[in-house]
Symmetry: C2
Subunit: 891 residues, 2 copies
């Protein structure tokens, strides 16, 4: 009976195994077989199967004799193929020995490189490569690796010798060792190995090979591999294969060489062969920069046959993997070996061009093209970025709160920013921002805050403006009064230059060069495909006509959230808003509201006109009223100081009265206080004014012949009775306005679902609501009990220590908050099957959250205008991924 086959050869254009034999050959072994069969010249070698791993453990940690015999046979074949020999002093063959299980377990098991080197074979290597230093360096590395992995000698043993030698020689870097020094190191290493391991470092190639192979099998059960398998649910009985592969050398003279390249230009995406190489060199030489590599085109003259083969192979690789390839190759004495190939990293611009080109070339489908785009990277196309080549002095890191880059002079005051922002580029730096800073934020190029999370005021407003923002930068200490901030020991004063990278959170000292974004025709093309694929609608959060216009340009299909309060902060309005708040009776409040009415009406009219018939969701007043008043503690200080210093009694009395009202409105936890629909319930006249403004605007537009569908949204509903109360007011006012205007038009009344109680009682609430919009910012706050303004500090600690993977204000927490969203959708539709459901939290523009929204059956997402393209792509990707899958809600 024929012996089982335990060893699979690959090389010379043919392999014993195949790509689908991962069970037997492991992932790496099967890949090597596949590439070989595909005609890719990978360095030849053989794979010892995973079956042998089991036999090894059954057989008392030893490889059975029949396997040894097969291995010997293929080793001979390999030597023949390369015209080299393991352990030969003239033409030594060097090998790598690597593990390779069915599932990748990166770094968990052992690897040995340069196997075959010894006191004898080193001479051969020197002769073959003519590079004595390279040979000795390889030898000393081999001793280090082998002794550690196979013989159990601690790494520190060698590090200690190296340090000691450097000191003795008065050098600092490994690269300063001469060939002679390295030779001495080898001697010292071997001595130390004998002392520690109690035996000589093995000199015979076959012994080195056997020992390494057995070490790989043993490493299958080392503690970190066991833990990794547990964590990743990989069965422990699969075993690992062992891959033994010839090492190849690009430094064996002028007919040898090495290089790297891309099948297309990774910066622009242009279809051009791109890369560089060096003759008579190792891969490290290309990387180290000690010699200047030549453009790959030169290879055509130097080694035309090899060049031709390389072009053919890389073209085939690209065809095979259907993506741009980033490859490494080595030429050993005129023979080309591919060392590695993988999908090439590319700029977003290139990614878009390549995806579109490949569809046109028939290489990939439109769906695949869309899936190739990393939605988050689109920011690179929509905002300026810092020139990747620039040298930067990073002085602090905060939260990447709003993408893009900005550079300018530091100012610490919103008024100052507003005053100078037209003429100069400014960065507004604040401990935190508040609604009255908006004019300054608008005039600045970018915003930096020391406090606040991904949904803090600064972050939300900046994203809405498409303006770069680094928030919650706990590394800096802002001293607004003295107009300076410190970071990393440096003090930055007013008018010093800094640069912000809102995509990474970096704060950079000085003026870094920026690259302005460009939107290509390819981008426009792929976006039309995106819109064909997706089922989820994408709306924008926009408060003013200008934002609405941007949103439309980016493809928004409506406004999912207009925050009416943002209009209240305008300079000409705030006094009336304050009057309304300070009123201590209904009449005075109504008088102030009467002044605000025409302003709101004109805002809404502008917004709805801009949206040209697309739905516009307007949320009634949401924030606590004291946000519109002077800060309590500042007033306290002002009054106390004025009194202590004998200020004007009349003025003091006036300010004290104001303070008194501010005290009355003061809340310990405003986020959980008198806001949202609670305002409209206690001050129904505010709801009436806002609804009147919306409906009057809609009626006027309708008379002008424009289609309008206002969607009136009640915020912060926790109990269905709150919605009932406000809905009755809305309907009463709307009917009245339509009667006055002599027009009937369609409008919807719905609610935010942004409190856990709303989600768990969504069945009741849906009976009263024509639509739901999940406010996942607030829902995240209350579900986690995290204040968005205060939690940045410990969330960062959580993420740094691995306690939490992602900031839940940036990426929707699907396990917790998502469960409530799913519950809300399900319960809501149980009593109102045609309920329209959207999301208007910041998550509406975050790709993984958008996918969740698609899978949970939402009708639309709404996000900052600048994130609309991202949401469009993400929703198309979600649609493509879920095609054919049934949507399951909560598993």
């Amino acid at each position: 009976m024929a012996d089982n086959k335990y060893v699979y050869f690959f090389g010379g254009g043919k392999a014993d195994g195949k790509g689908d034999m991962k069970d037997l050959l492991g992932g790496k072994g099967a890949g090597l077989a596949e590439m070989t069969n595909a005609g890719i010249p990978v360095p030849p070698g053989f794979t010892i199967t995973t079956d042998v791993c089991a036999l090894f453990y059954e057989n008392n940690m030893a490889v059975p004799a029949n396997v040894e015999a097969q291995m010997k046979e293929y080793l001979g074949k390999l030597e023949g193929m390369l015209n080299l020999k393991l352990g030969d002093a003239e033409r030594p063959m060097l090998l790598s020995v690597r593990s390779g299980a069915k599932f990748s377990m990166p770094g968990m098991m052992d690897t040995v490189l340069n196997l075959g080197l010894s006191d004898a074979t080193i001479r051969g290597l020197i002769k073959l490569t003519g590079n004595e230093r390279f040979a000795w360096d390889s030898y000393r590395r081999f001793i280090q690796m082998f002794s550690n992995v196979v013989m159990g000698v601690e790494k520190e043993v060698f590090e200690h010798i190296i340090s000691h030698e450097k000191e003795r020689l008065g050098i600092k870097l490994d690269t300063e060792f001469t060939s002679e020094n390295l030779k001495e190191l080898v001697v010292l290493f071997k001595e130390r190995v004998r002392e520690v391991a109690g035996r000589d470092f093995p000199q015979a190639g076959d012994e080195q090979l056997r020992m390494s192979r057995d070490a790989v099998f043993k490493s299958w059960n080392n503690p970190r591999a066991i833990t990794y398998r547990k964590l990743n649910s990989i069965p422990s009985n699969l075993g690992t294969a062992v891959n033994i592969q010839a090492m190849v050398f690009g430094n064996m003279g002028d007919t040898s060489g090495t290089g790297v390249g891309f099948t297309r230009n990774p910066s622009t995406g242009a279809k051009e062969f791109y890369g560089e190489y060096l003759t008579n060199a190792q891969g490290e030489d290309v990387v180290a920069g000690t010699r200047t590599p030549r453009p790959i085109a030169n290879l055509e003259q130097e080694m035309p046959a090899v060049y031709k083969q390389l072009r053919e192979i890389t073209t085939r690789l690209e065809q095979h993997y259907r993506d741009i390839q980033d490859f490494e190759f080595t030429i050993q004495e005129n023979t080309l070996f591919m060392l590695q190939t993988r999908a090439g990293k590319r700029t977003t611009q290139a990614a878009v061009k390549i995806a579109v080109d490949m569809v046109k070339e028939g290489l990939i489908s439109k769906e695949e093209a869309i899936l190739r785009i990393e939605p988050n990277q689109l920011d690179q196309l929509l905002h300026p970025i810092i020139d990747p080549k620039a040298k930067l002095e990073v002085i602090a890191k905060g939260l990447p709160a709003s993408p893009g880059a900005a550079t300018g002079k530091v100012v610490f005051d919103a008024d100052e920013a507003a005053a100078r922002g037209d003429k100069e580029k400014l960065i507004l730096v604040r401990t935190e921002t508040c609604p009255d800073d908006i004019h300054g934020m608008h005039s600045a190029q970018g915003i930096l805050t020391a406090r606040g999370g991904m949904t803090s005021h600064a972050a939300v407003v900046a994203r809405g403006m498409g303006k770069c923002c680094v928030a919650g930068c706990e590394d800096i200490r802002v001293d607004e009064k003295n107009r300076k901030f410190t970071a990393d020991g440096i003090t930055i004063k007013e008018n010093d230059h800094i640069t912000l990278d809102g995509s990474t959170g970096r704060v950079i000292f000085g003026e870094a060069p920026l690259i302005e974004p460009t939107l290509s025709g390819d981008f426009a093309e792929i976006m039309t495909w995106v819109d064909e694929m997706r089922t989820l609608k994408v709306r924008a959060n926009a408060d003013i006509p200008r934002d609405a216009q941007v949103a439309r340009e980016f493809g928004a299909e409506g406004i999912g959230l207009c925050r009416t309060e943002h209009m209240f902060f305008a300079e000409d309005r705030l006094p009336h808003v304050q009057e309304m708040i300070l009123a201590d009776n209904v009449e005075d409040r109504e008088a102030a509201l009467k002044v605000l009415l025409p302003m709101q009406r004109s805002d809404f009219k502008g917004l709805m006109r801009e949206m040209k018939g697309y739905p516009v969701t307007i949320r009634l007043l949401d924030p606590p009223l004291h946000e519109f008043l002077p800060k309590r503690e500042e007033l306290m200080v002002e009054v106390a100081v004025a009194k202590a210093t004998g200020g004007d009694a009349k003025k003091i009395a006036q300010r004290e009265k104001l303070l008194h009202r501010v005290e009355e409105l003061h809340e310990f936890n405003p986020m959980l206080g008198h806001r949202g629909c609670r305002l409209g319930i206690t001050y129904p006249e505010i709801t009436r004014m806002q609804v009147r403004a919306i409906l009057e605007a809609a009626c006027e537009l309708s008379k002008e012949g424009q289609a309008v569908i206002p969607e009136i949204m009640i915020p912060l509903v926790g109990h269905v009775n709150e919605l009932k109360n406000q809905k009755a007011l809305v309907i009463e006012t709307a009917e009245q306005v339509m009667k006055e205007q002599g027009i009937t038009l369609e409008y919807l009344v719905g609610t935010m679902i942004e409190l856990p109680r709303a989600a768990v009682t969504a069945d009741e609430i849906a009976k009263e609501a024509q639509f739901f919009s999940f406010g996942t910012n607030d829902l995240t706050q209350t579900t986690f009990g995290f204040s968005r303004d205060d939690s940045a500090k410990f969330i960062r600690h959580y993420i740094d220590t691995g306690l939490m993977e992602k900031d839940p204000f940036a990426v929707l927490d699907q396990d917790g908050v998502g469960k409530l969203v799913a519950m809300g959708v399900e319960k809501g539709r149980s009593t109102r099957p045609d309920l329209k459901v959207g999301i208007c939290g910041e998550h509406g523009g975050e790709p993984s959250s958008v996918e969740f929204c698609h899978n949970t059956g939402l009708n639309y997402v709404s996000c900052s205008p600048y994130r609309v393209p991202i949401a469009r792509i993400a929703s198309a990707q979600a649609a493509i991924k879920s095609k054919g899958k049934s949507i399951s809600r909560d598993k």
Copy 2:
């Protein structure tokens, strides 16, 4: 074929119908039949069945002739029985006509009294009663009622005439009308009826009766009845019956009379016949107080037979209804009629005695006795109450935050309260309290705050101390600086007397008389039955040994929540706590913690010693650290004023440094900030110190031979990884301490479930937790998005306007928060079936919430020591009610 029976007679000790014929006779008719059959002498009469109501509507709003015939027959029988005649000028019979459907619809349908009066019959009534004024007053009332109900004349028509007459006569009260005046009123009324209704007021008794009967049938479909039925899901086809009953008169001479009474003493519960009566009088005379009624015992001499019958009847009524009866009777010419009987209102003390006595008398079971106690009223037994007879000047009303009553001089400062509280009775009045007011709260008799809800600091601490508190009293305005507050236009200065009623929220001007509580043997007895019945354990929330002792005395079976931070506010500790917080490195923090360690250890030891082997759940540090530091705004003012007025530079610098750290710790929404397990995660040394203190205390006690089971509770867990992190620290520290102490003892590690995310991911969390304790205060805050400190204002508005039924901080919101609790229990037990589950929010002592906890399958509730008896009774009631019912969790 015999005609259907449409009219059912009752009277003379016999009725045609029975008590179970509610469908046909309506609830009232069936009840009258039942009482008659039981030998209770109710005024006789007859019931026209609900079938007739249907016939009436089918028959064009008219009663068919055969029904009229039956009615006439029974009317004759009634006249015979009473020796009176409808419409007779000598001995007129007067009737009442009342609706009565199967289900009670109080006040929804129509009633006519004194039917039968006319210009002719009035003379007979005067003769029979000898009371001319009574007769004319009855007539004018009859005209008003009949004209309104039957003829549709607006009530205002008569009110207008009455006002006009009063003006003319120069009088103010109805009682000032003379007999002659009333006679004139009758004339004026009849004239006006003719004008408005277009016909004379009907004078014939049979016409009056027919019209009234038809009006009652019609009232079944009046708009308010239709709405009521819709709201209460009562089918609209049931119809109403009509009850026609003789009016009886206690003012027909010296053989007539009227009275009220109780079968037992409603104040003490003693088994004694209790009541009062008047001869020759109507019921109104007893109530009006114009004549002084005599004790009911006197009746025995005056009318021995009637007295004997009354004793027999009321005894039978008590036996029949198995409860103390509150009855009204009238004697008409030596014949006793029972007008009403119902369960008697009683004091809590009486309720307990009556329940226990009735069990001993074999009248009710122990279960029924327990169900008879209103748990919330137990407060009356445990705390002083305001003498119910006292005349009070109520000047404001706040939340009934902690029960009992207290009276004393007003102080506005905790230090002042602490300094004087030993010698004087004081009431501490503050805008709100904070942790450093605790010593003053402790020394005061009661606490009044203008801000904060049912779970505000003042409320929670006061309940824990068993001290009277009125919180969130928005009616008052506190001016702490000038040591005064205003309410209802009155200014109360320091040292003025006020009285608080913490059970109703009343604030009373002056010193009201209080009644001290007494606990009877009956109470002790019923509590032993309670403990036999209940399955839910009851623990107490207690932070210090003294509270633990009170808890044990009230029957607590362990401590469900020890808030370790409450120990931090003691005068000798706060400086070290502040040192710990202000430390800017781990070493300094550990040094401060080292000082705190022995203090905490001794606290825990005292607590566990007091609990004698019952479980003690200790929660690790929970509140945000800045609660332990001076207030930010006060420091700001201090520093600013000192600077403006040229204060000592060194001292300013010192305070500025402190301010700086306070600024760093400042949070916008501390409730959602850096607190709970987030503290222990960022400052692991705090967790280590606390766990060490707990375990050292436990080990020491164990060595002293006492059983101890510490349960270490991690607060504010939202993500399982937070628990994992802290649990690892707890176990590591505990193992270390036990090793040091050479002892092994049992301890548990569990978590609070107080965030919505914890509830929805309870399956994950339960894998790491040996117990759950629902923190429903915080869970209510986050589920509703209501800050407990800020929401009192609008919650009050919600309740006042009917938008919300109950304050969710006082009564667990079963529809929302309760859903999350049920979800948490179910998910938790899905991965850990033996999970121990309790509740330690303020709801743990609220009866309806306790019932919910029982039904949801919790193992225990934990509440303030003074609420332990309430929770024990409530849980026994829940067990009795659910006996035989299967527990369903979430429907």
